[in-house]
């Protein structure tokens, strides 16, 4: 075989081998790519540890080492296994099983070697692992007028993240219903309420922020807020409504109603009924 032929056959073999391995790699890569797209949305029940970056950033930052799991004193965190719909190896917890205990020193955060759990978070009350939502008012026994308030009482940010609103119980017509209301500005998403809910299937659930929060259209303006910001009405003020009332009468818009300011009629002008003066006499039987 001449040297030229050998080089040519070498080249042919090289191209064939490269082509084959490239093909195999492309097949694998495509499969992986699709798989990564599917795994992108976190299931609603899986919550990230405190300080976790937004989901997309988190999946780039977390190197799946489990150091946060190890430093959680309450064994709340787990690493996802391949069959779960959570990116494999990333940490999560299920609130219904065990909610975050909200340690003051947040040991899971400094354990993270990459900052996937943001080291800037030092106050656990600022954590936003999710948001509690009372998803089923039909099942929640507070809406039946029964006393429960377990979620309210167990809440680590008690009286702020969940408050009770008293509503008249129309069924009994004499009691109040103690309705739990969640406030997103204080709820850390620790999941204690979901864990403690006394129902077989919890009525209050901590959902990931993206699922829990609505968002008003950006073009919306609330008139009363605009008015306050501007320090006055933004449109031509309404002219005051005037009733066509007899002289000496006014109308109060704040609830008093019709006001009669006409001078009282002179008593001598009143028609006299025989015997009325006697009946009106005071101090006599």
């Amino acid at each position: 075989m001449s040297a030229q032929n050998k080089t040519a056959s070498n080249r042919r073999r090289f191209l064939k081998e490269s082509g084959r391995s490239l093909g195999i790699v492309m097949c694998l890569a495509l499969g992986l790519g699709v798989n990564s797209r599917q795994g992108r949305a976190l299931p609603a029940r899986a919550l990230r540890p405190p300080g976790a970056l937004p989901e997309d950033d988190f999946n780039a930052a977390c190197i799946r080492c489990g150091l946060c799991v190890r430093d959680c004193p309450f064994d709340i965190l787990h690493l996802a296994t391949p069959e779960q719909h959570i990116p494999t190896g990333t940490p999560y917890f299920i609130a219904r099983e065990k909610g975050c205990e909200m340690c003051e020193d947040i040991p899971c955060i400094p354990a993270c070697p990459t900052n996937a759990l943001n080291h800037d978070l030092t106050n656990i009350d600022d954590a936003r692992m999710g948001l509690a939502v009372l998803v089923d008012q039909e099942a929640c026994i507070a809406f039946q007028g029964l006393r429960c308030e377990v979620c309210f009482n167990i809440c680590p940010v008690r009286g702020e993240a969940i408050t009770l609103e008293y509503i008249h119980n129309q069924r009994s017509d004499k009691h109040a219903m103690f309705i739990p209301i969640v406030h997103s500005d204080s709820c850390t998403g620790c999941g204690k309420c979901e864990q403690a809910c006394i129902l077989d299937e919890t009525a209050i659930r901590v959902l990931p922020m993206a699922l829990a929060k609505g968002l008003l259209g950006k073009h919306y303006r609330l008139g009363w807020e605009q008015k306050q910001q501007a320090g006055g009405s933004m449109v031509t003020p309404d002219t005051e409504h005037k009733y066509n009332l007899p002289e000496g009468m006014r109308y109060d818009y704040d609830g008093v109603g019709l006001i009669d300011e006409r001078p009282a009629a002179a008593p001598e002008e009143a028609t006299s009924v025989p015997g009325l003066d006697v009946l009106n006499q005071k101090g006599k039987p």
Partner: protein, 308 residues
């Protein structure tokens, strides 16, 4: 029995060595490697099992004695490719690991640390014992792993997530043992069956991008195996039968006439030492080579020169 073994050296490589040196000596490096792999795993397991927290975390990133951070540089690279810059801790940890592998030979990770090595070695052993050869005719190029390495990084950049870590059997196995395996066993089983039935040394020798990554620091690693007594070689082929990267042995072992260095300088030699074990003639030895020095004696250059 020994006679029978000798009749079929491909199925029983090292039979002569066992006979002469004794079983323990003929498995010395293999036993040491298993000891190394299992000790590292035991250090990690001591915490969750016995509350003995020497090492925390897993093979992707760990903390020893609450002070020494170690991170896998390949996983960190994926994270960087995905567009995230981690904190200094991760970089320091990766730098320490990388420095160690620059010295010891990058793919020493594969044979002395990686848990999958036990799985694929078992598959390889069983394949030899059962006399399975060829498989389904899928002859993979050894270069495939470098393509795969590149595509794991490109995929991380495109998707913004550590795509490979979702399926990486190496980290999956370690993580699984320490934190719960789930159905991860199936993937490990798949790799085992792939190596057993479809492709000889298919995973570690052809596909694993982690091994491909760790072969890079090995380009200049001083700790190497050398065929120092190659003139004693009696062509029994036992080293070729057991070596998971047998292409690395050929030129250093047979290149005496062309003045090729006996040092196995290929970055894909995993420094497993199995060739030392099975060689009855004690041809191979661990040794130090001066980085870059072997370049002048690059086997490839010599061979090319010969062929033209």
């Amino acid at each position: 029995m020994v006679k029978k073994l000798k009749q079929n050296p491909a199925r029983f490589p090292g039979a002569e060595a066992i006979e002469n040196k004794g079983w323990i000596k003929a498995h010395r490096w293999l036993l040491l490697r298993r000891l190394s792999q299992l000790s590292i795993l035991a250090l990690f397991l001591a915490g969750p099992l016995f509350g003995l927290w020497i090492v925390k975390g897993n093979i992707a990133s760990s903390l020893t004695f609450d002070i020494l951070p170690l991170s896998d540089p390949y996983i960190l690279l994926q994270s960087l490719a995905a567009g995230f810059v981690p904190t200094a801790t991760a970089f320091i940890g990766a730098a320490i690991v990388l420095a160690a592998y620059f010295f010891l030979g990058g793919r020493i990770y594969c044979s002395w640390v990686c848990p999958m090595n036990i799985v694929t070695d078992t598959a390889g052993w069983l394949r030899r014992k059962l006399g399975i050869s060829g498989g389904l005719g899928l002859s993979l190029s050894k270069q495939t792993r470098y393509w795969l390495l590149a595509s794991t990084l490109i995929l991380a950049a495109i998707t913004g997530t550590l795509v490979w870590e979702a399926v990486n059997p190496v980290t999956l196995l370690y993580r699984g043992i320490l934190y719960g395996m789930g159905l991860g066993w199936l993937l490990i089983l798949a790799v085992f069956l792939f190596d057993l039935l479809i492709s000889k040394n298919g995973w570690c020798g052809h596909l694993c991008p982690m091994g491909a990554f760790y072969s890079l620091p090995a380009l200049i690693s001083p700790v190497r195996i050398s065929a120092v007594k190659r003139e004693q070689c009696n062509d029994c082929m036992d080293c070729f039968a057991v070596c998971p990267e047998k292409q690395v042995i050929y030129t250093p072992l047979r290149g005496a006439d062309q003045g090729i260095s006996p040092v196995i300088s290929s970055p894909n030699c995993t420094n497993c030492g199995r060739c030392i074990d099975v060689c009855n003639e004690s041809v191979f030895q661990f040794g130090l080579q001066q980085p870059f020095k072997s370049k002048s004696l690059s086997p490839k250059k010599e061979v090319t020169h010969e062929s033209t």
